[in-house]
Symmetry: C2
Amino acid sequence: MLDVSDSDVLASHLQELRRGTVVMAALATLSRPTYGYALLESLSRAGFAVDGNTLYPLLRRLEKQGLLTSEWNTEESRPRKFYRVSPDGDALLASLLAEWQALHTSIEKLR
Amino acid sequence: MLDVSDSDVLASHLQELRRGTVVMAALATLSRPTYGYALLESLSRAGFAVDGNTLYPLLRRLEKQGLLTSEWNTEESRPRKFYRVSPDGDALLASLLAEWQALHTSIEKLR
């Protein structure tokens, strides 16, 4: 079994496996306009362990890439920035889901 | 749709999604001793697009981490280094497959 000194190795490989799925999960969730913290909670409930230090820069990066749009909602007492997937983001999401399905099929063959 | 200037964005997100699966696929395939090029071919047949510039350094890294062992086969005219998963590698593979299954369940919920 993996000993204590190997737990970093285990963690880094698990982290690498999860990383690519966060973009897919965020794009899928943002079909409805959502602010950062609410998205964090939705992802956590869905089983995607991601913290704000990862998610918030990711949202800014996806917006810069034109995959998300954002809008400030100032109707409530505390203004919040709502993100929503763009048509380009929808196209990327479709590609990622198709790739995920292909990878899943490939992995099932190896098991 | 994503335009030409966005194709790098698409490629990088797809790449990130695939990256974490290569370790899992390599460990699963190396339950039988296999040399690098044969592994590359097996992975390719199984649908994991990976090139030698990625795979060979990865094999050395996994060996250094104690997840693979290697042995030279000098019986044939051309000596080849055969890799095989170690007990630690088997333990990691089990963890990765369990995580993959959990991620798959989470993603199915989002679709």
